[in-house]
Amino acid sequence: MNDISPKLVAGRLVARAHWHPLEFLFWAAAFASIWLLPGKYLILTEIAWLGLFALSLDLILGYAGIVSLGHAAFFGFGAYCAALLAKHEIINEPVLALIVSGVAAMLLGFVTSFLVLRGSDLTRIMVTLGVALLLRELANRMGWLTGGADGLQGVEMKPILGLWRFDMFGHNGYVYCLIVLFLLFLLARRIVYSPFGLSLQAIKDNPLRASAVGINVNLRLVAIYTIAAGYAGIAGALLAQTSAFASLAVFDFERSADLLLVLIIGGTGYLYGGLIGALIFKILQDWLSHLTPQYWPFWIGLLLVVIVLVGRERIGSWTLPFRTLANRFDWRRKESFGGGQA
């Protein structure tokens, strides 16, 4: 292909944004779990918000190349926002409180994004880590507001949209989280396949060249960082709403580090990595801590080392046969271009 016409490129990019049959399958399975796994709502809820949280990190790491070890800052901020809004009965309706918490986290993300613009990867790791530690200590110090190390007690959640109560079995909570995850996933998908998303990938690959072709690098990084912060804030708010509780643990370094692990397990830069990683990570954790409540961190550490050694690309490649099979049945792809699967 010597002459790459803009039309050809555009066509290819549009084709890439098409829904793949496997994606339909993924979401069908996710929603089917509501009926198929009634005893597992609590862990599924955790997977849902962790998946959303990981998706948020994927937006900046996988698409814009910003390494962060302090993503828990936004997660925790969102969690405390949602918990405080409910506790002081400022906003009683969870969906509205969720949106407000997300916007609050976006504001925080916007303000701190300017710190992240400075310097390269190592600096970014330190800056993001610093912001998270700072917020954790602030929350610890402001005990009158946050409850300090005891956590925020006495949060009571009102029914979702005034109709569905957060029940003890976690059914409504899970459905709520899953719907929020799905809607935000659709939005993220739209973002990454938009020209804006493509320009981010150009920045990730080579910031200098990107700015040379006229992409305003800083502006775009600020934008995606702000959006990702909003996503993380909503994930945190989901945790706070489904558990009716917030504690300093939401800001923990371990949370940011675990998140990076989740994304490493699932793979970055294709949106599903965070969701699949969250699924694998939580199930592993639950299973191992059930088998050996005392020594499970050892086994999870060992498994992670093995996973990273084997190479996370291979996890993606396990699904290769299915993907080829799915491609064969993908009529749209045939019309436009064969293969070219991202």
């Binding site: 609590l42 300090g148 003890m168 009716a244 939401v250 409540p293």
Partner: protein
């Protein structure tokens, strides 16, 4: 003939097995034990788990026709985990009671679930006063910080200590300890030179100790959660504060039996008030310590007796309720229950469901080459002073 007998035998056996199987499924009493088995508070989890195992080994696993089954979960002392695990235990495993709770935030996080599910929540470790008020289904077999903090204040006044710096971990039990001590101590004519709060997670005591030393007090009142006492004592000695004549007083968490044997001779003479010492002089305790050490290779501490007595409370409540397993019957049975624990006599306050027990003043001494908290004065049947003051 033989064949017929064999057939009949087989049928009887099958029938018997089926009956036994059915009975077993019906008559199991499940206890969800949520403890920090990993992380900073892991020593609490280790002690309580060992004590629960010991109690069940000694008393069998069948009470009032029910088979007791314990399901252990690790929450790492992170309250969100506690809440999820408690919920899973209640919803999926259908437990009849939840127990454990290494730290106050964990106990508080689970309290609304106990209320909603109407099952007993037995607090075996956490020591903030308010816990038992958070659900009518909570009973406690550990202690409240105020119990020992008030009594050590009393002792300090009577023993010529005039000026004290308080150092407590910055969370609810620390605040309880600090307040109870200061109120009693200042009421008795003492002065608090400085009230220092130490971060709960990963504490470095050095800067705080320096501030305490600068105030030149007669004594430092210290509360840190079980497991952090060793680091505190080490840093206290490193700064030479033991030689400058500053005494250490406080609730007994700092000279916890679990860590005491490795603290070194510098801690000799430290005076604390607490509910339990492995050295407590009673036949019951001697037998307990011996059996515990034999099974585990380490010494039981106050967390272990909390777990041991927690199991005792569940067992006895089941007996008293005559096989009823609903939360209301069990809590009713627990109220006012009295028994002889390895720690000494104790009971459950019928009004508050909190623990009433003797508090002992102890001094660290060397006995048979090992460090022990040796009890030398007893305050009998101490109720939680915070709740008593509210009335």
């Amino acid at each position: 003939m033989l064949r017929r007998q064999l057939l009949a035998g087989c049928a009887a056996l099958a029938f018997g097995l089926a009956a036994a199987g059915g009975a077993a499924a019906q008559d199991v009493f499940k206890i969800g034990l949520i403890l920090p088995m990993t992380g900073q508070q892991a020593s609490t989890g280790k002690q309580i788990k060992a004590a629960v195992d010991l109690y069940m080994a000694q008393h069998g696993n069948t009470v009032a026709g029910k088979k007791i089954e314990v399901i252990l979960k690790d929450d790492g002392a992170v309250p969100d985990n506690t809440k999820r695990l408690a919920q899973e235990l209640i919803v999926n495993d259908k437990v009849n009671a939840i127990a454990g709770f290494g730290v106050t935030p964990a106990a508080l996080a689970a309290a609304p679930l106990a209320t909603e599910a109407k099952i007993p929540q037995i607090v075996m470790a956490a020591g903030t006063s308010i816990i038992t008020e958070r659900s009518p289904y909570i009973a406690r077999t550990s202690f409240t910080l105020a119990q020992s903090s008030e009594i050590i204040a009393d002792w300090a006044i009577k023993n010529g200590i005039k000026k004290v710096v308080t150092m407590v971990s910055d969370y609810a039990p620390g605040a309880d300890a600090q307040k109870s001590f200061s109120d009693k101590f200042t009421a008795g004519g003492g002065t608090i030179a400085e009230a220092i709060k130490i971060p709960l997670a990963n504490p470095d005591f050095a800067p705080f100790l320096q501030r305490a030393a600068d105030a030149k007090p007669d004594a430092v009142f210290i509360f840190v959660p079980s497991g952090q006492g060793g680091t505190f004592m080490k840093q206290f000695v490193e700064r030479g504060m033991d030689k400058s004549g500053i005494k250490i007083i406080g609730p007994g968490d700092v000279t916890d039996d679990d860590l005491l044997p490795n603290m070194g001779d510098q801690v000799i003479g430290t005076v604390t008030a607490h509910l339990y010492s492995a050295d407590h002089d009673s036949a019951k305790n001697k037998a307990f310590v011996e059996a515990f050490k034999k099974a585990n290779n380490f010494r039981p501490n106050f967390m272990a007796v909390g777990g041991y007595d927690g199991m005792h409370l569940i067992y006895e409540a089941l007996k008293k309720a005559g096989g009823k397993t609903d939360g209301d019957s069990l809590i009713a049975a627990m109220k006012g229950m009295k028994w002889e624990s390895p720690r000494g006599p104790m009971s459950i306050d019928p009004d508050t469901r909190d623990v009433i027990q003797n508090i002992y003043i102890r001094k660290v001494e060397k006995k048979n080459g090992e460090l022990y908290n040796v009890e030398f004065a007893t305050f009998e049947n101490v109720k939680d002073p915070v709740k008593a003051a509210k009335k």
